[in-house]
């Protein structure tokens, strides 16, 4: 029967209109269905969106405080390693950083291959240590007594203790060893030997630092850097430093140099804040606890405070030592800003966590919400199908094909899915996007993740479509298989 092919599908606009009318006809149930979808979608998108927002704000903050961060890392690098654990942690972090790797070679005189092998071992030891660190305290005490940190590795080197450790570990149901036991055994066997490696690194580092100290005596490397940077000769300084065995990558070095200049200016400003009259008169004048940092922040924010600070300076320096008010205010401002940035970074990390993506618990919750959503939609659609049996059968009598009827219901569900997705995105906007904008507006506006949020909302809409599509499969199947004979039923 070739003629059958002439029978066309219902045109799309008509299909949409019938769906719209059917939804409107059962407005209350449709609203509940849309609401269920909206809740599930808003849950998903708000979690994704707050993760992106948190990271974006944190990135903005870190960018803001990059120079001070680099400078403090530079100061830390000028200090020798405090203990073996610090050496191990440093080795585990070297990775692909060419400057750090160069430093290591200079300190130890190893060949590149040897160094790489040691770095790999260090990373493994660090992983093992991290794992031991994640054990609940009680269980760790049970396994290795009161030992902590690297002591644990030393303690486990004795074969008898180690066997006991593995036996305990197996019996503990709540803790799973993520590293294969034979690899752990190999690592533990080699621990004494590896301590020798750590010692070589530590001594090499110490030698190198002593040499640098000699080079820049008597003022020290930090002061030398500030002086050189002020005169725009930081490049020379870092070259000397690298020859001494402390290389930094060029962009890091630039940030360090700027940080050093700011640090010097900050120290000068702090001198003002530490003036005897300021220190003694602060509480009486403003009824606030005194600290140099607080004085600077106040100077940045309030002209009244600034005026008072200048007066105190004049009283302490009657012979008229120059006070550069403009410089003082600008340093205070920068200081206040970086302090706010640090505080914001702490808060953001606290609220959103440092990890990317979903943790297993959240993933589980999202999955459950989706399941509930699918079951809810499917239930509502099935109810709609069963209650409209006569209408469906009549349409079949009028010549609707099975596929047409199926499409009708899938379309209806998809329409509600889109609607629910949009409402869900709206809810997520209100719940997850606007509050962080109010709390951390400054940092977010600097680095607003438009792309990531668009992706999130797109994903939400898609999820709504997929959920409603999945949920409609069974009800649409029931509808499309319904016998046209049902139209004759009288009840």
């Amino acid at each position: 029967m070739l003629e059958v092919r002439e029978q066309s599908r219902l045109p799309l606009p008509k299909l949409l209109r019938i769906c719209k009318l059917s939804i409107a006809h059962r407005i209350l149930r449709s609203a509940v269905t849309v609401f269920i979808i909206a809740l599930a979608i808003s849950f998903l998108t708000s979690i994704l969106a707050s993760g992106y927002l948190g990271r974006a704000a944190r990135d903005a903050v870190l960018e803001e405080t990059k120079e001070l961060g680099a400078y403090s890392r530079f100061l830390a690098a000028l200090q020798p390693f405090s203990d073996e654990a610090a050496v191990l942690a440093w080795l585990a972090r070297v990775g692909d950083n060419p400057e750090q790797f160069g430093n290591l070679l200079r300190w130890t005189g190893w060949s590149e291959a040897t160094a790489r092998a040691h770095l790999a071992s260090a990373a493994e030891y660090q992983t093992l240590l991290d794992f031991l660190g994640t054990l609940p305290t009680g269980e760790r005490a049970l396994l290795v007594g009161s030992s902590r940190g690297l002591q644990i590795l030393g303690k486990l080197e004795a074969p008898s203790t180690r066997e006991e450790f593995f036996a305990h570990l197996k019996s503990l149901k709540s803790v799973r060893l993520t590293i294969p036991p034979d690899r752990v055994a190999r690592l533990l066997n080699g621990w004494t030997e590896f301590r020798g490696v750590l010692d070589v690194v530590r001594r090499g580092n110490l030698r190198s630092l002593q040499e640098i100290e000699k080079t820049f005596a008597p003022e020290g490397a930090a002061k030398a850097l500030a002086r050189e940077a002020r005169e725009d000769r930081a490049g020379e300084f870092f070259k000397t430093l690298a020859q001494g065995g402390l290389g930094f990558n060029p962009s890091e070095a630039e940030a360090i140099a700027r940080g050093a200049i700011f640090e010097e200016r900050l120290q000068a400003a702090m001198m003002v804040a530490r003036n005897p009259s300021v220190r003694s008169g602060w509480r009486a004048a403003f009824n606030e606890d005194y600290s140099p940092a607080r004085v600077l922040v106040a100077a940045a924010e309030s002209p009244r405070h600034l005026q008072w600070i200048i007066e105190q300076w004049k009283r302490d320096n009657p012979e008229g030592t120059a006070f550069n008010q403009e410089e003082f205010v600008s340093v205070s401002r920068e200081f206040a800003q970086s302090r706010a940035a640090f505080a914001a970074e702490q808060e953001l990390t606290g609220r959103y966590g440092r990890e990317k993506g979903f943790d297993p618990r959240t993933l589980w919750l999202v999955a459950v919400s989706f399941l509930v959503c699918v079951v809810g939609i499917a239930n509502a659609m099935l109810m709609s199908v069963l209650e409209r049996f006569k209408e469906i059968a009549t349409m079949k009598c009028l010549g609707a094909r099975n596929a047409t009827i199926g499409f009708l219901f899938i379309f209806e569900s998809l329409a509600m899915g889109v609607l629910g997705g949009l409402v869900g995105i709206g809810i997520a906007l209100i719940v997850a996007v606007i509050p962080p904008l109010i709390w951390n507006g400054n940092w977010l506006v600097k680095n607003f993740p438009f792309g990531d949020l668009a992706f999130t909302f797109g994903a939400g809409l898609l999820a709504g479509l997929i959920l409603s599509g999945l949920a409609a499969i069974y009800p649409a199947g029931v509808a499309s298989r319904m016998a046209p004979l049902e139209a004759m039923r009288v009840d």
């Binding site: 029967m1 059958v4 009598c397 099975n402 009288v490």
Partner: protein
């Protein structure tokens, strides 16, 4: 449609529209097998007005549904316009139902979410008629059943008789050869039922539509050409209108 000249009354030379050959239908419920039809043979000619009568459980509904291509028989042949319905797949059946047969139900069965005009248009859209053409023809059909000014009313805003008129307009949308009516007047009051009967008779006499009507309404029997009496899964007897008129007179005398 209204312009077409009155068609001649069907006679022995009119072509056969529906022909059944040894049609049986069994229903299984677990081990229980019910024979609803036990080998039905009949012929219905173009332009006839047939009433199907029979007590409940007689197989009347099954017979009615089999010739309406709503139920496939267990064995035998059902030829609708020379096509064996028993051999068709479900999309081909949908096509037959769409183009060749119009259905009228006891409970009207309008799609509640659509207006009167849209209800009439929907079967044309299923048939692939362009929307503008469907709208023009839909309005013409509503005019034919006297509901032109009610085109944008929803079924809830229409009375039972008006809904049945819309349903009749809908059943005529694709110019079917056959109109299958399942107790079309059972849910209507006396006067409204009479209107519907008059409309059906007019469609039969003026437009030459073949009408097959399951009914208990004696007024309907009064206006038909032949009556099929179904009993125990078989056609018990087929009577001409002339025979029945006498019987009705007899009933009136009692």
């Amino acid at each position: 449609m209204t312009d077409s000249p009155p068609s001649p009354r069907p006679n022995r030379r009119s072509p056969v529209l529906i022909r059944t050959r040894d049609v049986t239908k069994e229903y299984r419920k677990g081990d229980l097998v019910t024979q609803a039809l036990k080998g039905v043979n009949c012929e219905i000619r173009r332009g006839e007005f047939i009433a199907v009568m029979g007590p409940s459980g007689s197989g009347k509904s099954t017979f009615f549904n089999v010739i309406g291509a709503l139920v496939t028989p267990s064995s035998g042949r059902v030829l609708v316009d020379e096509v064996d319905v028993a051999q068709l797949d479900r999309d081909e059946l949908a096509f037959i139902r769409c183009k060749k047969i119009g259905y009228i139900f006891q409970t009207y069965n309008l799609v509640q979410a659509l207006t009167a005009l849209e209800n009439v248009m929907i079967s044309m859209l299923f048939a692939g008629v362009l929307e503008d053409d469907a709208r023009t023809r839909g309005m013409a059909l509503l005019e034919r059943v006297g509901l032109r000014d009610r085109w944008d009313h929803s079924p809830k805003q229409l009375s039972g008789g008006q809904q049945q008129r819309v349903a009749i307009a809908r059943s005529l949308a694709n110019e079917p050869r056959i109109l299958l009516c399942d107790e079309p007047t059972a849910n209507l009051d006396h006067a409204t039922g009479q209107d519907i009967i008059n409309l059906l008779v007019e469609l039969n006499k003026v437009d030459g539509v073949t009408i097959i009507c399951a009914t208990h309404d004696y007024r309907m029997i009064d206006r038909c050409d032949r009556v099929f009496w179904i009993r125990d899964g078989l056609i018990d007897k087929i009577q001409q209108r002339s025979e029945i008129t006498i019987r009705l007179a007899g009933m009136a005398d009692q």
